[in-house]
């Protein structure tokens, strides 16, 4: 089975901190994605990557950056955390550039205080 692992299930950070959310997949997938999910707003795409060192903005990239130095790892970075970034963050991966089935991690519930 494909496994997508997010480094933390729950995280509490202070306003202004730099926050790293890590995601690792074990099936050599090309595509990786970061979403945030908020009540009433559904899943919103923050960034995605279709290859090492490549990144593309999603629908809500402001306040975030990403890093993909290795194929299996995709990191989401909150440069200066703010309370409006309190959310559930979901990482996903899929096999090829032509969109195929995506596999999701269990999510990281981030609270910024």
């Amino acid at each position: 089975d494909v496994k997508v692992t997010q480094s933390s299930r729950y995280l509490v950070k202070r306003t202004g901190e730099k926050v790293f959310l890590e995601c690792v997949q074990d099936m050599d997938h090309e595509n990786m994605f970061w979403y945030r999910q908020d009540p009433g707003l559904g899943l919103r795409l923050i960034y995605f990557s279709y290859d090492v060192k490549m990144k593309e903005k999603g629908d809500i990239p402001e306040g975030y950056s990403v890093s993909r130095e290795k194929k299996e790892r995709f990191s989401l970075i909150l440069e200066s955390a703010s309370t409006n970034q309190t959310s559930m963050y979901l990482c996903a991966s899929s096999l090829t550039q032509v969109n195929t089935e995506a596999f999701f991690g269990q999510g990281t519930r981030l609270t910024v205080v």
Partner: protein, 111 residues
Amino acid sequence: SQQGEEDPQALSIQEGENATMNCSYKTSINNLQWYRQNSGRGLVHLILIRSNEREKHSGRLRVTLDTSKKSSSLLITASRAADTASYFCVSSGGGADGLTFGKGTHLIIQP
């Protein structure tokens, strides 16, 4: 990909009944996918239907695709309590782009 719009936003039925959810999209597609999210198993892929297919089955799931109407439906037969979840559709043009989700249909199965 493009954001699909699921309809209805919420659906409550009795256990054992069939549940039907609909999805509409705007531009031509390569494939359309359905996902389910519940608290226990997170977000999981259910089924993918390609643009040249009209119907696809997987267990108790039946998906139809009407490219002329730019719409898809997901039918869950003989519903169970474990089917209580949110269901999302994602349509894709086949290019290298992100998967965009709608707000989903929240399905509640009453015992």
